[in-house]
């Protein structure tokens, strides 16, 4: 914050503004200066967040238990430790798998429910509430329910037994081959409703005449969905990609409450790694900070990448359309 202060105060000086603004446009001085109106938001948000990031970067070069304990500078050791820790790479792998599966399921499920509930169906608003409940109720509140569904004598195994697939029953949460799957399925369960709300809203904006024109041209339901509806809600899909990426990177609640990242770190995520480092009695805040910095770099880099690529694609499409019109 301190480094930011002198720069931010200067431009607010009224004479500095009047001088420059007045030369360019006569109207400008009529608009009152408003720097102090954005100060609260800047201080709370930009201040706290940038402070945390910078401080995080600083701590990440120390071996530090927090509080009054001594800070031992250890250079890049925390980063080296992270990159050579097999658990870290498990967490990265889990994040990628989680992101890909949940994103795909959310898009498919969200589009399906949105399209279905935009059709004439009986009790539509009841279905809507059922789909959205998992989004609004805290994962922390629902976690005990998920444990009951997936544990050895839980609902899933009971269903399997009752349909004659008793051979498939297993301890879903307690074995390292299936724990990640449980976390991912719970993630899908909780996020389809979010995709649904967004697609449902976006589909309301689509011009019904366009759909009608498609029908007149003989397009079936699926054809309309893929050729007319989906291209029109693409902005939503791109937003969902970025939001899901962030969700996967910071995933904590469900994992911690259902599997605690285990067994044997099989369902570890970066969020749970950072938390357990802070909560442990032999904590190293430096290591937790190094992991945070890595997470941040991944989050920023990938969301910029997604945004750039989608912009590039959009620009290409616009160009193509323009070229088509010119011809």
């Amino acid at each position: 914050m301190t480094s930011l202060a002198p720069r931010t105060v200067d431009p607010a000086r009224p004479y500095a503004q009047g001088e420059k603004g007045g030369r360019r446009r006569r109207v400008v001085p009529l608009i009152p200066g408003g720097f102090r109106w954005i100060i609260p938001a800047l201080v709370i948000s930009v201040g706290l967040i940038y402070y945390s990031i910078v401080y995080s970067g600083y701590i990440s070069f120390f071996d530090w238990r927090g509080g009054r304990s001594p800070m031992n500078p250890i250079g890049f050791d925390n980063y080296v430790e992270a990159f050579t820790d097999p658990v870290f790479w498990t967490a990265i792998r889990n994040t990628v798998v989680y992101f890909v599966v949940v994103f795909a399921v959310q898009v498919i499920g969200g589009v399906f429910f949105a399209a279905a509930l935009h059709s004439k169906v009986f009790l539509g608003s009841l279905y809507k509430v059922i789909i959205v409940i998992p989004v609004v109720v805290a994962p922390a509140t629902l976690a005990p329910a998920h444990i009951q569904v997936w544990q050895s004598n839980g609902t899933v195994n009971a269903i399997l037994e009752s349909i004659g697939l008793g051979a498939l029953t297993q301890s879903w949460i307690g074995q390292s081959t299936t724990s990640l799957m449980v976390v991912i399925l719970v993630g899908c369960w909780g996020s389809i409703g979010f995709g649904f709300i967004l697609y449902f809203g976006a589909m309301t904006q689509i011009d019904p005449e366009m759909i009608e024109a498609g029908r007149v041209d003989g397009a079936g339901n699926l054809r309309i969905l893929f050729s007319l509806v989906l291209p029109n809600v693409k902005a939503i899909t791109i937003s969902l990609a970025i939001l899901n990426l962030i969700t996967a990177l910071k995933l904590f609640d469900n994992v911690w409450l259902i599997t605690q990242g285990g067994p044997a770190h099989s369902s570890e995520f970066l969020g749970t790694m950072i938390y357990s480092e802070i909560a442990a009695s032999d904590r190293n805040l430096g290591y937790a900070s190094a992991l945070s910095v890595i997470l941040l770099v991944i989050a920023v880099a990938t969301s910029i990448l997604i945004q750039l690529r989608s912009r590039e694609r959009r620009a290409k499409v616009t160009k193509a359309v323009k070229a088509g019109v010119d011809v």
């Binding site: 009152p32 948000s45 967040i49 279905a116 169906v121 509430v129 609902t155 910071k250 945070s292």
Partner: protein, 262 residues
């Protein structure tokens, strides 16, 4: 979207939809059914009569109310400033704020933890309210600014010609006109603050400061894994959120939809 001219196709769609909804009901059904195992309603009576049970709700309400007040004031002021007032290098400040738009909260935990320890803020509601506000403000400012941009400048000019100062313009023109978006955003903030888990878990370390998301763990300790009571507690915790969602469906969905267009 799907056209269902014939009665059969309508029935097929209805059946497919019903089957697709079943997985959503399984955990909820399990939660409710198992919460009655053993003592039946007695589980609920036991949960509700645990001393300090309502304290969890009160604490969540404090966190939510604190976040909402701070976010509302900061957001509306900033939206006004960014949209209608003259600020040098305005877009630079806006960009600085937007860069934090999709910041995962977990990266703040380590630095904030050590800062909270140093400042003696550990175990105060501020240690949760401020980070929640900090993380939500970029998003609420983005949406609110977009909305305020849509309010014609002439309204503000007219107010100024009538002798209104900046404060008066904010109070009598901006706040009333921006109310629809403010409500949608605040419903979203309410849900996010109410459902926050990681921040309270790390910072609200005192026993009497638990929030509702920490209830399941509290009951697991309290009842030594007496599952029906843990689930009864979860049901009681989920009900206010579900009621709030059903009552505020429109605002809630508008807020979420606004959030996705960032």
């Amino acid at each position: 979207m799907f056209e269902t001219r014939s009665r059969t196709s309508r029935a097929v769609l209805q059946i497919v939809l019903t089957i697709a909804v079943i997985p959503f009901l399984v955990p909820i059904y399990t939660m409710v059914a198992k919460s009655f195992e053993g003592a039946g309603w007695g589980n609920y009576a036991a949960v509700v009569s645990v001393p300090g049970f309502f304290r969890f709700f009160l604490n969540s309400a404090i966190v939510a109310a604190g976040s909402i007040i701070i976010i509302y004031i900061a957001t509306m002021m900033a939206a006004f400033g960014f949209s209608k007032l003259r600020i040098r290098s305005k877009e630079l400040f806006f960009w600085l704020m937007m860069a934090a738009l999709t910041l995962p909260e977990v990266v703040l935990i380590a630095p904030l933890y050590s800062t909270a320890v140093a400042l003696g803020l550990l175990g105060t509601f501020w240690s949760v309210i401020l980070p929640i506000a900090a993380l939500q403000i970029p998003f609420t400012v983005l949406i609110a600014r977009g909305y305020v941009d849509g309010i014609p400048d002439t309204l503000f000019e007219a107010a100024r010609l009538d002798g209104a100062g900046t404060v008066r313009m904010f109070w009598s023109v901006l706040l009333p006109l921006a109310r629809p978006i403010a409500v949608a955003l605040l419903v979203l903030v309410l849900i996010n603050a109410w459902n926050a888990y990681l921040l309270p878990k790390v910072f609200l370390i005192n026993d009497d400061m638990g929030v509702v998301t920490l209830l399941p763990e509290f009951f697991r300790r309290q009842y030594n894994d007496d599952i029906p009571k843990v689930l009864a507690a979860a049901v009681v915790t989920a009900i206010p959120t579900i009621v709030a969602y059903i009552a505020l469906q429109k605002q809630f969905e508008r807020g979420m939809a606004a959030g996705a267009i960032k």
